[in-house]
Symmetry: C2
Subunit: 287 residues, 2 copies
C-alpha cells in the first residue's frame, strides 16, 4: 500500500477511499494502564488521520473487535464510549461491525470509508523538486499522551485542499523523518530539511530531559512517530501564501523543500547539505 | 446491525454497503490443523456472503492481520494465497490493509465494500405475510468442510435480484432456523416451515450417523450454521416462476412461507402448526 488509504472507483464513476487500522493490546496500548475509552477513540482517530492525508471526507466506519471473554461486554461498551464522540464530532456513521470474544487480549480493527471532494484524492506521490515541505503542529514525545489523544487533521486537510494547490501529503504515524522520506520516495524526489525550523513539541523536550539518554528533543521530533500531523508538499508560491495566511487553528510551518536528488538531507551553513537517515518505527516481521 | 452490511450514502447520491468480519484462531478455525490458505479464503468469503445477502456487487476489500511473531511472514503469505484467487474470481480489488505482529494467535479482519445495482439494496426487513421462503443449496454439517470451502452466493444473488422481485434476504451464518427467524423478526412477520422440504446436506447425514448423539440430520440442517446459503422471501407468484425456472447452478427450494403471526412455526398435517424454536450459534459475551 503506497498511500495512506486505497482509492476505490465505484461503478457510477465516484471515487472513494478505504483505509483500515488494527490496534492490539500490549503492542499499540496497554489496557492494564490505559482507559479503554482512549483506546476506542484512538482506533478511530488513526483511520481519520489516514483519510486526512488523502484529503478525503470521512463518511462511515465499521468496527471489528476480538474481546477477551472475561469482562468483554464492559470493555466493548467503554471502547465505544471513546469512539462514538469522535465519530459524532466528524459526522461519521458507525456502520456496525463484528464483535467476537476469545481467550486472548483485545484486538480492535476499524475500517473507514471516505469520499473525495475533487476528481482525485491527495496522494503521497505528487511532490516535485522545489516544493516547500510544510507541516501542521509539532513533533516528538507523543508517547507521553498525544499518541492517544491527538486530533486527526481532517478539517485541516479539507480546508487546505479546498483553498490551496497541494502536491502531496502524508500523515506522520511512524516518524517525521521516516514518513517524509516515504512521501518523497513515492514522488521520486528528495527533501532537504532546515532542522532549526522543525516545530518541537514540549513533550519531546520533557522526554529528552527526563530520560537523559543522549537523545535530544530534536531527535525525538524526527523519529518518535504517532504525532499524526500532516506533512505537505506545496508549490513554493502557494506555500508562501499559505504560510502568510496561517488559515488553521494549529500553526503551519515550513521545515524544508523538495530536491531533485533522492533521499533526505539536512541543510548546512552556506548552502551545503549532508545526508540525513530517515528514522522511525518500522513494522518488522520475523520470517 | 440489523442487516448483513451497512448501507452508506455517498455525497453523489450513490449507495454502497460496507461489511466487516473478523476471524480468530482457536474460535473460527484452528491453525494447528487447518491450512492457512483456507482460512484466508474464508475470511474473504464470509464478507462476500454478507454482500450477497444484500444483492450488492463486491468492489474492494481491505485486510487487517494480527500475526503471531513466530512465522508471521510465512503465515501472511499463505493467507493471501488463499484470499487472492477468490478476490480475482469476483474481480475484487484487494485494497491493502494493515499488518501487525504480536505474541498471540492469528486475527484476520476483512472489510468489504459493495455497490448496489438498483436504488436500494436487498434487506432483511422486506418479507411480507404470504411470501414464499426459498433457499439456495443445502444445509447442515458444514463443520465437516463446507464452513471453509463454501462458495459465497454473490452471483446467485445478483442474478436473482436482477430477474425476480425479491422482498428480503439473509445469508445463513449462524443456523437456518435462527437466521430465518432474524429475517422475519426484522420484517415484523413470522414463517412456517415444511420441515420435509428442507434440503439436507449429505454432510448433515454423515454427522448425524457418526456422532450417534440423538441429533438428527434435520436438526443439523436447522441449527448448524456456516452454510452461507441464502434465505429469500419472494412474492408467491414470483416464487412459482423462479422455482419453475431454476435459474441457478445450485437448486432453489421452497421450505415454507411467511405468516402474519410472528415467530417460527412448523407445518403439521391438516393445516395446523406448532411453534419451532430458532436454534443456531449465538455470539455470547460474558459481562
Amino acid at each position: 500500500l503506497s498511500d495512506d488509504a486505497a482509492v476505490v472507483l465505484l461503478g457510477g464513476g465516484q471515487r472513494c477511499v478505504l483505509t483500515s487500522d488494527m490496534l492490539t493490546d500490549e503492542v499499540d496500548f496497554r489496557l492494564e494502564v490505559c482507559d479503554p475509552r482512549r483506546v476506542g477513540r484512538k482506533a478511530l482517530a488513526v483511520n481519520l488521520s489516514d483519510l486526512a492525508a488523502m484529503a478525503a471526507r470521512p463518511v462511515a466506519v465499521v468496527v471489528s473487535l476480538a474481546l477477551p471473554r472475561r469482562g468483554g461486554q464492559r470493555l466493548a461498551r467503554q471502547l465505544y464510549e471513546g469512539l462514538i464522540p469522535l465519530a459524532e464530532e466528524f459526522d461519521i456513521a458507525v456502520a456496525g461491525g463484528d464483535t467476537n470474544s476469545w481467550d486472548h487480549p483485545l484486538v480492535i480493527s476499524v475500517t473507514a470509508l471516505g469520499e473525495v471532494a475533487g476528481p482525485e484524492p491527495l496522494r503521497r506521490s505528487g511532490a516535485r523538486p522545489g516544493d516547500a515541505v510544510l507541516v501542521t503542529g509539532a513533533f516528538g514525545g507523543s508517547s507521553l499522551g498525544k499518541h492517544l489523544d491527538f486530533q486527526p487533521r481532517v478539517r485541516e486537510a479539507l480546508l487546505l485542499n479546498a483553498n490551496y494547490q497541494l502536491h502531496a501529503a502524508i500523515d506522520v504515524s511512524d516518524g517525521l523523518s521516516l514518513d517524509l522520506w516515504r512521501m518523497v520516495e513515492e514522488s521520486r524526489c528528495g527533501a532537504e530539511l532546515d532542522l532549526s525550523a522543525i516545530p518541537i513539541d514540549p513533550s519531546a523536550r520533557q522526554l529528552a530531559a527526563s530520560l537523559d539518554d543522549g537523545v535530544s528533543a530534536l531527535d525525538h521530533a524526527l523519529s518518535d512517530g504517532e504525532d499524526f500531523e500532516l506533512i505537505l508538499a506545496v508549490p513554493a508560491g502557494e506555500a508562501e501564501r499559505l504560510l502568510e495566511d496561517q488559515p488553521l487553528s494549529t500553526p503551519v510551518t515550513q521545515i524544508g523543500r523538495c530536491t531533485s536528488e533522492r533521499g533526505l538531507w539536512r541543510q548546512l551553513e552556506g548552502g551545503a547539505r549532508e545526508a540525513l537517515a530517515p528514522r522511525g518505527y518500522e513494522h518488522g516481521l520475523d520470517g
